[in-house]
């Protein structure tokens, strides 16, 4: 950390929020109505404005980094709805993510937590020979929100039985896609360019068929698709865990690997990965050449962003006669500002009817949900979403992030609703000959 930086009671050895970023909040409260945790508790300290004020007090040395402040840092969903809502450019979610670094203390874990880790390890790791095998369990475990729940299990008063629910949520796991995708998938039709595909860990393991469609669409749209097998986890789970150092290591690896490729863009179909990859610029600002970081940043594209920029070739698309509604993943709309593009793609499919749901960009509660089952108030996050989905009476629920997909798929099943949940590229894949 910069020694000139005012860090007050933040530990100077670890990442800490920049004081200037904290001062940026003018306490107008515009973010309050968009914050899911504030909606749950109605407590100012669980709001973006409150959280920034707490962090500011720590930076000014008037408050210790208390356990309640740590709790708020982890209770924050990092959904970044507050970032979208804030006219002053304050990013309370990210500030909380950084605060988690401060909170990162290795505490001994209860037995059942280790058991959970093991379950994921054994169930998911089908090929131990793989380079990223050390990454996969950790990433999955965190990406799926287990980490969040584990940390908050006491706040949320969870018993160990939530684990059964978590297991029920997981889709059947096939062979990881990473092992099946060729390094080069050639363009079909008139060639328009060459892209690299960033394959997310969860996508690879749990939604292999979705990412397969993503690659097929890109190729059908006229792009050579390179999938470098040496790519590693984007580091998002570590970020949200408060382990920014590991993310930096992963970031440098991916940065070097992808910049060495001669491609127009680096495309991903995981909103969480896209958002983390775009954050490398800031994360590595003290360690890497600015120009290089910008180059990388400008190449990162969510699949919908990419297809919308390059223009979707629609001539051959097959009609789909169904009504769909779209749930915006937080890490797509709030973290990356991508809202219009997915809708454009959906509407480009002949025959489809897009029915907007209310509050499409309100968090689905992803990470939190399993815990929510045990807490009447918290269940509201998911219920609120499900009610808005149900009101559209659509046939399909489209989204664009594996975390949301898992959550909503489970929620819809539990609620006995009719909608099928599918990823945007699965939908486009169906329309692609």
């Amino acid at each position: 950390m910069n020694p000139k930086e005012q860090h007050g009671n933040f530990s100077p050895e670890k990442d800490a929020p920049k004081y200037a970023d904290l001062l940026q909040c003018m306490r107008c409260g515009f973010c309050l109505p968009t914050c899911p945790t504030f909606a749950l508790t109605g407590r100012e300290r669980s709001s973006p404005r409150g959280r920034v004020a707490l962090a500011r007090a720590v930076a000014e040395g008037t408050f210790e980094f208390t356990s309640a402040i740590r709790e708020e840092a982890f209770f924050c969903l990092d959904c970044r709805a507050c970032t979208s809502a804030c006219p002053s450019g304050v990013r309370a979610g990210e500030l909380m993510e950084i605060c988690r670094t401060q909170a990162h203390q290795q505490q001994p874990q209860p037995k059942w937590q280790t058991a959970c880790r093991d379950m994921i390890l054994q169930k998911m790791l089908t090929d131990p020979k793989h380079l990223e095998r050390a990454m996969l369990p950790a990433r999955l475990y965190q990406k799926l929100g287990l980490q969040w729940l584990l940390r908050n299990s006491r706040i949320l008063k969870l018993g160990p039985q939530w684990l059964d629910k978590a297991t029920a949520m997981l889709p059947p796991l096939g062979q990881p896609l990473r092992q099946q995708l060729p390094e080069l998938t050639p363009a079909r039709g008139k060639k328009r360019g060459r892209v690299a595909f960033f394959l997310g860990c969860v996508m690879s393991l749990m939604y292999a068929e979705v990412s397969q469609q993503t690659v097929r669409i890109l190729s059908h749209q006229g792009f050579d698709v390179l999938t470098p097998p040496a790519q590693k986890c984007c580091g998002a789970p570590h970020l949200s865990e408060g382990d920014r150092q590991t993310t930096r290591q992963l970031a440098i690896h991916n940065l070097e690997l992808f910049l060495a490729l001669d491609v127009d863009a680096i495309v991903t179909d995981c909103a969480g990965c896209g958002s983390a990859l775009k954050d490398y610029e800031e994360l590595l600002e003290d360690q890497q050449d600015t120009h290089k970081l910008q180059l990388f940043r400008n190449k990162i594209k969510d699949i919908s962003e990419f297809l919308s920029e390059t223009g979707l070739r629609t001539e051959e698309l097959l009609p789909i006669e169904q009504a769909v509604t779209y749930h915006e993943p937080c890490h797509l709309c709030h973290a990356q500002g991508i809202s219009r593009q997915p809708r454009e793609l959906i509407r480009a499919i002949p025959g489809i009817e897009l029915r907007e749901m209310k509050e499409a960009s309100w968090c689905c509660g992803s990470a939190a949900t399993w815990g929510l089952k045990f807490d009447a108030a918290s269940q509201q996050v998911l219920d609120r979403k499900l009610a808005n989905i149900a009101a559209t009476d659509a046939d399909l629920l489209v989204t664009a992030n594996p975390g949301c997909q898992l959550q909503l798929d489970w929620g819809i099943r539990e609620a006995g609703m009719a909608q099928k949940v599918i990823h945007l590229t699965e939908l486009l894949g169906r329309a692609t000959p």
């Binding site: 940026q24 003018m26 107008c28 409260g29 109605g42 300290r45 408050f63 208390t66 006219p87």
Partner: protein, 465 residues
């Protein structure tokens, strides 16, 4: 300090989810949107009904705790800051819309209802609640009444006061006062209601409000006029009004504001121009067309460089929405945003802009100005850094001199943000010691011990033991 017994009693009555006293809660309920001011209460309560307000007040009185009412804490003069500690009573969980009376065109609400929620609810029934402060998506109606909030539609439709028909409040002695009613005329005795509006929580705690609703205008048209010199924009405003046209909205933003707003909302505002006016006319379609045409002519004469008409309601709403973010968006430029609320007779607008410009040069500051131009209500905002003491001194000198002239022109030190903690000195300058003395007498008639929101509007008159 509050005793543990008192906290236990509050918790027993209101429930633990409605009473907080952890340091983290106290810190986050000690501020509002006023820069550089904060306090720390001893306890925070969230009553969910009028009985609980009464109970909390009673307990505060028994324990000699000052009480600060709070809505959403978006106030800009420090009104909901617990300057002397004690108890903060947050009304934002009393948020039921109790009744929409379509025969009498009124809405009765609890004090914690969010302004925009009421607007949307009555709009769904084909009715209209006009006052729309920039903070409408989070401010409470209780807070609006207590600050007599204005908004973008103030020019034609007036301010919150013009819509308050009845109030129910709890006074410092714990008694309930109901004043006003649904009848459109009422001259029975002193007008308590009018005294309470704008009293900033110093006379009583509002629990229930009955508001007047009106039918919405049939048609609207939104214009955007660009200027190369902000004084021309000021002249245009005066000329439009002199032409006997009262638009519903006439908002101004200067270049600094335009750029910040564009940074956030990305709706394509031109970054080079010196100022823009956002004008909306509404009413009968024929009249709207006629007035819009007349305004376009006046704008051309007043040397607007370009006039655009919003193509549809969505585009118009986006413009208004963008304007509402002006203050917060300006905050992205610098760590501290000091804003004032100077209001002048409309005919003095152009002179006011000249003055702001001169003072900005003189004190070497960065200033962004926006505001409700049609009301003569400007928000010159100094973009500064509270860590820079010299700059802060210059900023205060800037406002001192500005207000001196504003008062000389017959203006006011606060058009809509209230006095609170932040502007007590300016108030004395405006109304003089005689005025302050009368206000103090009124205050003690309502609140003899001075327990309600002490230190606001008037310096504390501590009769408490």
């Amino acid at each position: 300090m509050i005793t543990k017994t008192a906290i236990d009693q509050l918790t027993a009555k209101l429930g633990s989810q409605n009473v907080f006293h952890q340091p983290e809660d106290l810190l986050t309920l000690g501020y509002d949107a006023t820069p550089q001011l904060a306090g720390s209460p001893d306890v925070v309560v969230y009553p969910t009904c009028s009985d609980e307000v009464q109970y909390a007040l009673q307990l505060a009185r028994d324990n000699d705790l000052p009480v600060t009412p709070r809505g959403s804490g978006t106030g800009l003069s420090g009104g909901s800051i617990p300057a002397e500690g004690g108890m903060v009573i947050c009304l934002n969980r009393m948020k039921r819309i109790l009744e929409i009376d379509e025969e009498n065109l009124t809405a009765s609400v609890e004090a914690g209802v969010v302004t925009l929620d009421l607007f949307n609810t009555v709009a769904a029934k084909g009715l209209f609640y006009p006052p729309d402060p920039g903070s409408q998506k989070i401010s409470t109606l209780g807070g609006n009444v207590m600050e007599d909030a204005g908004g973008l539609r103030g020019l034609k439709y007036g301010v919150t006061r013009d819509y308050v028909m009845a109030l129910r409040c709890i006074l410092a002695d714990g008694s309930e006062l109901a004043t006003g009613g649904k009848s459109v005329k009422d001259v029975a005795g002193y007008a308590f209601k009018d005294l309470l509006v704008g009293s900033e929580g110093t006379l009583g705690i509002i629990t229930e409000i009955t508001l007047k609703l009106i039918p919405p205008p049939q048609a609207k048209r939104t214009l955007l006029a660009y200027f190369a010199d902000i004084r021309n924009a000021g002249d245009a405003v005066s000329q439009i009004i002199a032409a006997k046209i009262i638009p519903s909205t006439m908002e101004i933003m200067d270049r600094a504001t335009i750029n910040c707003v564009e940074d956030y909302s990305k709706i394509g505002l031109p970054r080079q121009i010196a100022a823009l006016l956002l004008i909306e006319v509404d009413g009968h379609p024929a009249l709207v067309a006629e007035e819009a045409a007349a305004i376009e002519q006046i704008l051309a004469r007043a040397r607007a460089t370009e006039v655009q008409v919003a193509k549809d309601e969505i585009a118009a709403a986006k413009l208004a929405e963008a304007r509402r973010t002006a203050l917060s968006a300006l905050a992205r430029v610098s760590p501290t945003t000091l804003l004032e609320d100077a209001t002048v007779p409309r005919s003095m607008l152009a002179e006011t802009f000249t003055l702001i410009d001169q003072l900005t040069q003189k004190y070497q500051l960065q200033v962004g100005t926006f505001g409700h131009a049609g009301d003569g209500n400007l928000h010159p905002t100094v973009l500064c850094d509270e860590r820079n003491t010299d700059e802060m001194h210059r900023a205060h000198a800037f406002y001192d001199q500005l207000y001196e002239q504003v008062l000389a022109w017959g203006g006011t030190v606060s058009g809509e943000h209230g006095i609170g903690l932040a502007k007590k000195d300016y108030l004395a300058r405006q109304i003089g010691s005689g005025g302050i003395a009368v206000m103090k007498r009124i205050k003690s008639a309502f609140d003899p011990t001075g327990m309600l929101n002490p230190g606001k509007i008037l310096s504390t008159n501590k009769n408490r033991t």
